[in-house]
């Protein structure tokens, strides 16, 4: 186990291994998302209250899940990179941020599209989940802006890691405070999805979509980390050999 981890953290091994793993994750996610989309759009019966508009949850909920998962992945790997000075962990954090921002954006837009027929407005401040998603998007922007503002990669890694950890402490607090705030507001909230009450015909596509999105995230993340590793290791012998084999030939 330990030697496996050690091997994994060595950049050339990671670079090759990730290349081999990406197709599997991509294929898995493709299958699950295809099943989830078809089943969610065409086979699941319409919700008795929200009618066919509820089908948006099959893309909204997985996107919202991922937006938070990406932050956790980012903060945890930033912490690992900061404490154990593992360069690969910093590369993971750097790769997770833009993906997290994209999925947060997606969760916001699909949530808003869902809200339009439900609430009659595109944006409802009374919904705590959408509001926290918006703040989460700003947190991602801040993280990426800080990274972009620092030229030296090692310094950017460590500075943004501090920010990610501070953000990780704050995210639950933000969520809690937004919830408290909207509970006073008495605004319309969405009917909770999930729980054992939901019918299996409706639930299975949702679970498939969530899992499919997660696999997709892993595949995308591995791809981005490969790019990061390639760039960060640009002076090393293995990268030179890889990108310009003629030099050694």
């Amino acid at each position: 186990m330990w030697t496996f981890l050690h091997k994994l953290s060595s950049p050339p091994h990671f670079y090759d291994l990730a290349a081999k793993m990406i197709p599997w994750f991509a294929a898995g996610s493709l299958l699950l998302i295809a099943y989830g989309t078809v089943a969610g759009l065409f086979f699941a019966p319409p919700d008795y209250q929200q009618k066919d508009a509820f089908r948006i949850i099959y893309v909204h909920v997985p996107a919202a899940y991922l937006s938070m998962m990406a932050y956790v992945v980012m903060a945890v790997s930033a912490g690992i990179g900061l404490i154990w000075r593992m360069k690969l962990a910093h590369a993971v954090a750097a790769g997770a941020a833009p993906l997290g921002a994209w999925f947060t954006f997606l969760a916001l837009v699909t949530g808003s599209i869902w809200g339009r027929p439900m609430w009659g407005t595109w944006w409802e401040w009374g919904d705590p989940r959408l509001t926290s998603e918006l703040i989460l998007l700003f947190l991602y922007f801040g993280y990426m802006a800080l990274r972009a503002a620092i030229d030296d990669t090692a310094r950017a890694d460590r500075a943004s890691a501090v920010l990610a950890l501070v953000g990780a402490v704050n995210v639950p607090i933000i969520h809690f405070s937004v919830e408290w705030w909207s509970s006073l507001h008495q605004g319309p909230t969405l009917i909770r999805v999930g729980g054992p009450a939901i019918e299996p015909v409706m639930l299975w596509p949702l679970l498939a979509m969530i899992l499919g999105f997660m696999l997709l995230f892993v595949a995308l993340l591995l791809g981005r980390v490969r790019t990061e590793v390639l760039f960060r290791e640009r002076r090393s012998r293995w990268v030179r050999k890889l990108v310009y084999p003629e030099e050694t030939a």
Binding site: L82, I135, F138, L139, F141, G142, A145, L146, A149, I150, D152, R155, R158, A159, V162, L163, L165, V166, G167, V169, N170, I173, I174, F176, S177, V178, W180, W181, L184
Partner: protein
């Protein structure tokens, strides 16, 4: 002389020393203290002018405006928190002093609050009065603003430490700090509104107190780590 370990000044000496120096500097350049205060006052004047003199509406929106103005005023002075020290090299001397850095970071945040946060708290009753907010909410306004501005100074010191020495650090600083400051804004403004309406306010005050304590214990360490990284 080289063999014996030099005797160090006590831990609190360093803390007090930094606070005293920053206050002294603020005294020499009163503009640093007055600018955020004027900003706060001007925003508070703009609001009634923009919204109209309707007393009811002013009283309703007053807490929110008061808090947003306080947040932006605190942010205004954050950029220079470490920048001046960075530019004249005193930050380097602080980093290389035998004092624990988190303690010095805490001292900087305390000094920042004394110079920019405390005056805001003191003038807030005047602003609240001009917004036609009921007198019963004055105590709660001042209490929540105190807890809130302390948290903001601490939270902001992390952002200031991360952006010190960067190009366009000022705009970046707002982008980093504002989302993190959201809970303070939410609880602060809502609690003041509740107080103005005559409702129970203890939940908000407790939350702000807890948040302030959390910031007080964790932020100095984050600031210290950020300062070391920024000064590489």
């Amino acid at each position: 002389m080289s063999d014996r370990e030099p005797e160090l000044p006590g831990l609190l000496d360093g803390l007090v020393c930094v606070i005293r120096r920053d206050l002294h500097l603020a005294w020499r350049r009163p503009g640093d203290v007055l600018n955020p205060l004027f900003f706060f006052a001007i925003v508070s004047t703009l609001f009634p002018l923009a919204v109209g003199p309707d007393a009811e509406q002013l009283a309703l929106n007053g807490p929110g405006v008061l808090w947003v103005a306080a947040l932006l005023a605190a942010l205004l002075s954050l950029n220079s928190l470490f920048l001046n020290d960075y530019e004249d090299g005193t930050l380097e001397q602080l980093l290389l002093s035998p004092q624990p850095l988190p303690l010095l970071a805490l001292a900087k945040a305390i000094a920042h609050w004394l110079v920019s946060g405390l005056p805001l708290v003191l003038v807030s009753p005047l602003v609240a009065m001009s917004f036609q907010m009921p007198a019963r909410s004055t105590a709660v306004t001042m209490l929540t603003l105190t807890l809130g501005t302390v948290s903001l100074s601490l939270l902001g010191s992390i952002g200031a430490a991360l952006t010190v020495g960067l190009n366009r650090g000022n705009a970046l600083l707002s982008l980093l700090v504002l989302p993190l400051a959201m809970p303070v804004l939410i609880f602060g403004a809502r609690t003041v509104s509740l107080a103005a309406a005559g409702d129970a306010t203890s939940a908000g005050v407790y939350f702000l107190g807890a948040y302030c304590m959390l910031a007080l214990t964790l932020a100095p360490f984050a600031t210290a780590a950020a300062l070391r990284i920024s000064n590489e």
